[in-house]
Symmetry: C2
Subunit: 678 residues, 2 copies
Amino acid sequence: MSIASGVFKRVVVGRALRSDRLGETLLPKKLALPVFATDAVSSVGYATQEILLVLAAGGALFYHWTWLAAGAVCLILLTVVLSYRQNVRAYPSGGGDYEVATTNLGRNAGITVASALLVDYVMTVAVSISSGVDTFLSTPALAHLRPHKVEIVLGCLVFMMLVNLRGVRESGKVFALPVYSFMVGIYGMALYALVRVIFFNDTLLAPTAHATIVPTAAPAGLALLFLVLRAFASGCTALTGIEAISNGVPAFKEPKPKNAAATLLIMGTIAVGMFASITVLSLYTKVRVTDSDANLRINGQPPVHGQETVVAQVAQAVFSNFSPAIYFVTATTLIILVLAANTAFNGFPVLGSILARDGYLPRQLHTRGDRLAFSNGIVLLGAFAAALIIGFDANVTRLIQLYIVGVFVSFTLSQLGMIRHWNRHLRQQPEASERNRMQRSRVISFVGFSATATVLVVVILTKFTHGAWLAITAMAIFFLLMKGIRRHYDTVKAELFTDVEDESALPARVFALVLLSKLHKPALRALNYARATRPSVLEAVTVNVDPEETAALEHDWEQRELPVPLKVLDSPYREVTPVIVDYIRRIRRTSPRDVVTVFIPEYVVGHWWEHLLHNQAALRLKGRLLFMPGVMVVSVPWQLRSSEAVAERLDEDAAAGEAERASRRHAGAELNAKAARE
Amino acid sequence: MSIASGVFKRVVVGRALRSDRLGETLLPKKLALPVFATDAVSSVGYATQEILLVLAAGGALFYHWTWLAAGAVCLILLTVVLSYRQNVRAYPSGGGDYEVATTNLGRNAGITVASALLVDYVMTVAVSISSGVDTFLSTPALAHLRPHKVEIVLGCLVFMMLVNLRGVRESGKVFALPVYSFMVGIYGMALYALVRVIFFNDTLLAPTAHATIVPTAAPAGLALLFLVLRAFASGCTALTGIEAISNGVPAFKEPKPKNAAATLLIMGTIAVGMFASITVLSLYTKVRVTDSDANLRINGQPPVHGQETVVAQVAQAVFSNFSPAIYFVTATTLIILVLAANTAFNGFPVLGSILARDGYLPRQLHTRGDRLAFSNGIVLLGAFAAALIIGFDANVTRLIQLYIVGVFVSFTLSQLGMIRHWNRHLRQQPEASERNRMQRSRVISFVGFSATATVLVVVILTKFTHGAWLAITAMAIFFLLMKGIRRHYDTVKAELFTDVEDESALPARVFALVLLSKLHKPALRALNYARATRPSVLEAVTVNVDPEETAALEHDWEQRELPVPLKVLDSPYREVTPVIVDYIRRIRRTSPRDVVTVFIPEYVVGHWWEHLLHNQAALRLKGRLLFMPGVMVVSVPWQLRSSEAVAERLDEDAAAGEAERASRRHAGAELNAKAARE
């Protein structure tokens, strides 16, 4: 099985080796920023637009509420950044929100955060790619491609899955160029706009500046408040990804926590600046966007090719018809959003590994370097994201409704955990200056908690029926699944560790059986290996399925004068498994304190289809024997010639892996030495 | 895996046990006839109709050629029956045409016949069920169901698959009633018609007697000859199933060959009689059927609900409006056709078993009593038949085109083989009277060969473009597949049996490793079992994935004062398999003449999903170790509590199986005793 699937994967995804992300070298701040900022910075690509879309329900007049909603978003963003600087310093191990919640609030809080993060990763992939493609297709020259958006989004997704399955050797450098280009693009656009307006007194107008919006509601009073709150909640997508650095502290150069905290602040400032720039520009250039194309009227008609994104419209307004600059902004937006999705592809298996370590996911996900676990994670993530993309027509606005619940559950519980953290430490800290510092920190955490909890409540209230219920359901399913897995492992653990002393008795004797049907090399090897283990009793056993073959075997046996008795079991109806099981049961009954060892020659093949032609009876027998207590099953492999190619390839892989491990060990040793010095 | 699928199957197909077909008792002629006649006799249900359909191309006037075509079919049928009486006597082992062809014409002829028979089984299922449903739906009261024919046919197919998967205890008695009822129905119908016509001077008219046929061609000369030949070829479907008895000789009462030959003659005579009766009646009652509904005009209009089958129309004509008798004929036709399909479900795995014995199919199919092999055969056969039914809209006429190629390939090669058989025996036979008998037999075989070869050529010529090419392609694929499998087995055999003496050296020492990560009961059991085998060197090995866990293990180890050294392998990147492989490779390098035994504790679980939570790392490691020469892998099973239910069930099954085997052994002993007496 594993060989067959391995061959399949080799063909599809190639031979490249996966390296730990960022495994080899530690990151200086200027490289750490692009690596961890993609998710947080990229969300400015759609946050402003989401605010405008909500407010458009009341018509273009309501757009002046944008100032309020966007201002609140900036405030919350900075608050969360400040709070997370505490997290990063207090929990530098890379466990992130999951660790903070588990340590301070208990297991259930921990897996709630984990569920939220898992949902969040799926959403990041779906939203980022959809939004990136949206922006890119917003350049007027590509308008004809817009009807194929879902297919293009899925294409990007598949491409990213393949790239990740192949195993990219990522380094900070890969991220640096696009992230910094994106920043240059957005800030450059803001600066250029400023120059044009101040020095040239130009009027910058978006393509939809003269469009009108058909209001779908005329909210006032409480309904108006609710609308503005919903706009604010939508704008809070700008905050997604802030927590990324808290999972990545170990990758920073020393002093890790300090560098991480500094990077977090820089990242937050840049993100706020970009978000503010785009928001201001969109209002200044009079961008109009609506939830449904039908509600926008350009010269009295709805837009023919659908609407263009806010970023794309702003770029068109600022750069007028200088298309290279417009392309630069939309293309870097696409790239950075794709990279943001990519961080999810990296983060998902890492979180899975941590959850597996704690027994909440299948344990094999814990052993890293195991490609299969990573691959399964990547495929799973891709499949979930694809389902969402198809289910929601790659519509960013509809997807966003599901997005921020998870993020804010994570934020809120993590900040609540931090308050507990400071409370605990304050109880143990007698020194006044330290206590002061901690109390200050606690205030920050409390402010962060209050802010994020408020947003969470707002998000749930305003978005529950818009799709948040789906995200909450998904989180509940992940939660219950992980609880169930943990409970299972706990039960098994209890079973395995109670009355351990019962297992201390050595079996009295070893009763060995070698199963064979012909006297060929695999059978002789099994026989010789069995003899080498010098069991108390050794029998060769054959099932008489075909009398002629059995007679030939008996004849050969005598000829060769083998010093082992040959036992022939009759099977008038050509069955194998039940006859052998029967025989072993009789042995077990006669001497229950013995252990029975069953030697089975097993063919090792090189092609998947050869599995259909060999070993089937042996496999079935083995599957059956496992259920009998006191029976060991020994596979004596016989490598068929066709397996040699596979063995060679495995050896090559192993050699490559060894070299890789050696280089990692080297890096690890350096790192330890450095740590020791400091 | 096998457990999980077992549970699934238990739920779907239930717990019943399969018995060998007809395994318990030998059949007297009166029971053997219905058992083996279903296929041959049932084909009279559609043979006449197929002749009429072909001739209808020239309009109703061409129906007088039916006499010629049907007469030729009767002649060929009797010839083939006479020839097969020889086969039955000369090859009474049950190997049938495959054995005759292999023995006398060589392997390639043998697997050609086998390919033809495999295709034939699939066709029997598809054609028989489709035709049975056709006839049944032809009763006017069921006309409204006709548009759902494909669904009904598929429903019958699935039902038969389930019945066969559940394992029916078939006996001759199950067959006797419907087969004899069918004969009574057809012959009774003929007799009743005779009485009505002769004594009451009634005019019997089919529902379509006044219908007109729109000719689609006006063949003359060669084209006319071709049309009549094609009608004849279509009518030859009446011959399908004649060969069934030659596979079943061992099931007859002694003297087997004589009884089988006698039954064959009776069956042939009955089949000819029925075919002739239906043909005469259909011409007398002026049944009109056409290939396409559009070409038939009843009162100037095409039939509203599609056409009715010939048998159904004849029944309506003969019994006028006495519907119980009409229902009796159509219902028994449906039942006998379904039973004919059922014989294919029985024959397919039996032929598979013989082919597997000879190395043409995966070997595990040979061990009978193995339900899985039978089940796979049944599912495969059902899937092929379903594909045909869907692909051909359950249209009997179109399916028939594919049918007879296989049958006649088998007939022709088998008769050619018989000629060779007599030639060979004549060379060795000096006695004149025997030689005379053999020469007579050879003439019969030669006539049989000439007749069937002629039909085969006619069939291929007249039907190739109508669909026979598909059957021939399928046969070619089966042929190449079986050749390939045999070649593979031969290569492997050569590999396993050359230089067998190389494998005679005993390994110098046994180097045993017990892999563990914690000191729980499964680990201790593995350790104790390993100690019981008293290896030359014994080490416990753990991979340091998590330093804390490893420290805990080392601490436990010292506490317990285990008399085995614990080796800790470092794995800075949390990999398991490569680290262990690496270590074993080093051991092998140091002492290449030793055998390395790796003990792996393996969890035995009761639910399929538990497989996802346990053993994955062990399985992967095992898969990798198999490729290393000189390494044995020992699974030390630990039965988790959840596996107990499965073990109990397996024990129950085993007990039931034992009882069944005992009863079979009893029957077998009786049989042997009887054989000895005679």
